[in-house]
């Protein structure tokens, strides 16, 4: 590995990389994000470990969404580094698409693909990725066979047989999608277009769409803020189910009761910094930071 020396990062003015903590699932180092003059994230360093359920709270405009979007580099950090499973996502040599496949993201506005049925929404990425991998292994087998042409019988390299096919990938993805739809009780909606669904249905489908990629972590950006009140419950209970199953998650939310119930750790953000963090009991029960106290007095 002749890395390090010629590493290229998203932006030029990068702080040097510090050794990352291999036990952390996500580690951000000196994360800074500016929009022009406006510094939205100010030198944040934080680690997220397997199985943690992190709630990010804070006043509007404090940079919560930006922080979340920097975790999968949907927003390019201005400075600092983001490690996911030891890969530096700010390093241009790391294939960001491959990394993102292991990070599910759920948006406030659902963002289901309007031009596809529910089933297709869920299977699009798994099938595409499956076919890409199939192509790769086919190429590898072809290269091996080519090499074997020039080898004597005794020296021939073993050629693996293809375990899968395009058809099987598609069938598996669809079966998995139907299993997920059954789980949320929307199997009958498999072949309809998103425009015919309620907000709560859309968001639950958006969640299982992310789950279909078997992510290591789920990132939620105010998943219930765009919903009518009577639909908030169904979405929160699905998220809680995932939490109970052990899914690592980071959830930006204004639902304080939910944060208190589900989170293992709460981060309070304000002014582009994590002002205070701790267990829900600490944050909601005995806050110390003045801004946090003020924030809680407004929202509770």
């Amino acid at each position: 590995m002749k890395r390090n020396k010629d590493e290229k990062f998203l932006k030029t003015e990068k702080t040097p990389v510090e050794p990352f903590d291999p036990s952390a699932l996500i580690e951000v180092q000196h994360l800074t994000k500016s929009f022009g003059e406006l510094k939205v994230l100010d030198d944040i360093s934080e680690k997220i470990f397997h199985g943690e359920k992190i709630a990010v709270i804070g006043p509007s405009g404090s940079g919560k969404s930006t922080f979340l979007r920097c975790l999968n580099v949907l927003e390019d950090p201005t400075d600092g580094h983001v490690f996911f499973e030891g890969n530096n996502l700010c390093n241009l040599k790391v294939d960001i698409n491959v990394q993102r496949r292991r990070m599910g993201m759920v948006f406030q506005q659902f963002n289901l693909f309007n031009n596809m049925t529910v089933l297709k929404n869920i299977t699009l990425a798994p099938i595409h990725v499956g076919l890409l991998e199939l192509k790769k292994s086919k190429r590898k087998i072809f290269a091996l066979k080519l090499k074997n042409l020039f080898k004597s019988k005794a020296n021939k390299l073993p050629v693996p047989t293809l375990q899968t096919s395009a058809k099987k990938i598609k069938q598996d993805a669809e079966a998995n999608a139907m299993r997920l739809l059954n789980r949320i009780g929307l199997a009958d909606k498999a072949n309809v277009y998103p425009s015919t669904l309620s907000g709560g249905q859309k968001q639950r489908i958006a969640i299982v769409r992310a789950l279909a990629m078997n992510p290591k972590v789920m990132l939620f950006d105010e998943p219930t803020s765009a919903l009518d009140p009577e639909m908030v419950g169904e979405v929160l209970s699905l998220i809680k189910e995932l939490a109970d199953e052990g899914m690592t998650m980071v959830i930006v939310t204004h639902e304080m009761a939910f944060a208190r119930e589900v989170a293992t750790r709460v981060l309070f953000m304000d002014g582009g910094k994590i002002q205070e963090q701790g267990t829900p009991e600490q944050i909601f029960g005995s806050p110390t930071n003045a801004r946090l106290k003020e924030f809680l007095s407004k929202v509770l």
Binding site: N72, L74, N97, V98, Q99, R100, R101, R102, M103, G104, M105, F107, Q109, N111, L112, F113, N114, N115, M116, L124, A125, H128, V129, V192, Y193, S195, A206, R209, A210, M213
Partner: protein
């Protein structure tokens, strides 16, 4: 008197269609107009797509120069008259003896409509909610795959009618091609047929080619409507 003119004109129209010396002109004109229009439209759509793809790229170092060039292209083309662009093509850039004027015209009209098509496509793509792209990218799909699988299929719906209008304008605009020299397009053959030593009247030939233009444009309108309906159907159910 008017009935006389009408009767004469009717007779001349019959003549145009029945006498090969005239009808051959007509079919030649139709062929030339269609040839120039279709080739220019293809070039325009190709060029327009390319320019639109460049223009929607992010503001990064790699794309600064191409985006700048594309910006100049659309500004200049949309800001100057078509006839002038045709003349510059014919009398400056391709002022080569024997260079076929049809080709010059195809290039001039194609480059011209490319500028408009690119703006239509760009607007169509930008009209799609950013969240659609973000959802695709967050799933680990590449930007190209997201664009072609998610954004363009949705943008098409808005783009097709606009491009259709652009193509209709293009067909009609090709009528100025003979201003740059001798090209037997529909408009020019009407002029030739109406000359004093031929039919000696412009009314009948002009009427005939007007109907020809109308039919072409109307047929195109129908095709566009059909495509539009198809695209809409696939989204709603």
């Amino acid at each position: 008197m008017y009935t006389q003119i009408a009767a004469n004109t009717f007779e001349q129209i019959i003549t145009i269609f029945s006498k090969p010396e005239y009808s051959n002109y007509l079919w030649l004109g139709l062929g030339t107009t269609l040839y120039i229009s279709v080739c220019a439209a293809l070039l325009g759509i190709l060029l327009g797509t390319l320019v639109a793809m460049i223009k929607i790229q992010p503001d990064s170092k790699v794309w600064v120069a191409p985006k700048f060039i594309c910006g100049i292209y659309t500004t200049v083309i949309r800001g100057t008259p078509m006839a002038l662009q045709l003349f510059i093509m014919a009398f400056v850039i391709f002022a080569i003896r024997g260079f076929p004027l049809e080709i010059t015209a195809i290039l001039a009209f194609g480059i011209n409509s490319g500028a408009y098509v690119s703006e239509n496509i760009r607007a169509g793509i930008l009209s799609i909610d950013k969240g659609q792209t973000e959802a695709g990218r967050a799933l680990g799909l590449s930007s190209g795959y997201t664009l072609f699988r998610i954004i363009i299929p949705q943008g098409m719906k808005n783009v097709i009618p606009a491009i259709g209008n652009e193509l209709i304008a293009l067909i009609k605009e090709t009528s100025i091609v003979s201003m740059a020299g001798t090209v037997f397009d529909l408009t020019y053959v009407a002029k030739v047929m109406g000359a004093p030593n031929e039919l000696a009247t412009y009314l009948a030939p002009m009427l005939v080619v007007a109907v020809f233009y109308l039919i072409i444009v109307y047929a195109l309108t129908l095709v566009i409507k059909l495509i539009e309906r198809r695209l809409r159907k696939s989204e709603k159910k």
